[in-house]
Subunit: 241 residues, 2 copies
DNA sequence: CAGTATCCTCGAGGATACTG
DNA sequence: CAGTATCCTCGAGGATACTG
């Protein structure tokens, strides 16, 4: 409602920042844009990355973003999806800047409620460099030993990676054993993969070639470099223990 | 409430962007930070720039920003005020980037509800380069001829500019006659001052020296350069008529 | 000037059940 | 899979009156 028509949310504010806050300030909106920037396009894919959002609300937010001209809804033959318009893509630097600011100034260990294995695997799937793996179908299983025992899978096929919470069938070529906080630490740049491997806080077992190239095809959070930089000099920053 | 303690507003999101959205996403928060960045520090001064906010809410937002470590409350002998901490100041580039994005992509004529002479004069006072005026006390009167006849004053003293809605006493050394939308157009970079003067859409009368140097000491919106740039080539962009 | 306390409203959004 | 319709709750924040 706040976005329909030309009624401004902030009276007496002819200011670009007020306009931006009006367009982007609603709960979830920035996270939806982040997901679109990171390459999520299907309704259900976006929904999976936003645990707690209702489909009604996601639908509303996407419609508002379309009306503002940040997102367009492309109807395929059978499946529709959402894409950023040039105006939406023009936000990329600001979104990265905003997250970098938080990463620089508010780095912290993830709390229990912030951690969610499925969401993490989703993000890992989005930034994974599948083109660095041999052609064909690959399955990677993640065995988490804490905070609770849980297995999740990554299915990589035709350069496309998908996160699954059920065994997708083919025998895994690689099994990654670690804890959920440790995988968060590596993905977010708080812990170096090298240190985690050395300390056996993360173990890789399986196909030698895929294991050897792991650090190349396994991508990190877009904010990992900022986080790593901001921890430089902090005692124990890169220790995995 | 959402900000007290460590409860995250977005479950399952260990993501710097989610953290930033959680901290900055509440209504008014970004505009409060903008005002602090632009040099407002007194409670009432911030309040005046946010027409429609209640004092209860402004107080709450400022307290939340203090708890997050973006703002500090410095208690003087008789009057307290609010200042950005280094973490808050570190947001400057993002805030400018966000407003620049909106200025680039959503430039538009101000609507009636977006215009507010007092708020505009407040902003003008904040960016005014008082040090380029001769020492001493100066009064500038703005006579608006539309959308309604209204006069507002700028009082410049000791390098400090204040907006007043009542005659502050000393006879004005300069009278600026224009319409409110025209002054918004100039301040925001949509209309060039030179064109407005040429077309007599804005008239200056008074002390010759202060009049001559007007374009130097009268500052523009921090987003004016972006707005001007985005209008380049657009027909009639710099015309004042 | 710079706030705080209290009471009350209303609308954002959750739950649920439905559809092409 | 990708949504929409309806009903209901509850908490953010406005109004008002107060204080150092």
């Amino acid at each position: 409602m706040a976005h329909s028509g030309t009624v401004s949310a902030y009276a007496g504010q002819y200011c670009p920042l007020a306009k931006a806050a009006e367009m982007l300030g609603d709960r979830w909106t920035l996270l939806i844009l982040r997901d679109l920037l990171m390459g999520a396009h299907r309704f259900t894919d976006i929904e999976r990355g936003l645990p707690g959002i209702s489909r009604t609300l996601l639908s509303q937010r996407l419609r508002a973003l379309q009306q503002l001209g940040l997102v367009e809804h492309r109807a395929g033959e059978r499946r529709a999806d959402y894409w950023l318009t040039p105006v939406g893509r023009d936000l990329e630097a600001v979104v990265l800047g905003l997250g970098s600011w938080a990463a620089r100034n508010f780095g912290h260990e993830p709390s229990r409620e912030e951690m969610n294995g499925r969401v993490l695997l989703l993000w890992i799937a989005r930034v994974l460099r599948a083109q660095l793996l041999p052609d064909g179908r690959h399955v990677v299983r993640f065995d988490f030993t804490a905070p609770r025992r849980e297995s999740l899978w990554l299915l990589i096929d035709q350069g496309d990676a998908t996160a699954c919470d059920e065994d997708p069938g083919p025998r895994p070529e690689l099994v990654v054993t670690t804890t959920l906080p440790m995988l968060y630490g590596i993905f977010s740049g708080r812990t170096s993969l090298r240190a985690a491997l050395r300390d056996e806080a993360l173990r890789l077992e399986g196909d030698p070639e895929i294991t050897r190239s792991f650090s190349r095809w396994f991508g990190l959070s877009p904010f990992a470099a900022v986080t790593r930089e901001s921890l430089k000099g902090t005692a124990g920053a890169v220790s995995a223990s």
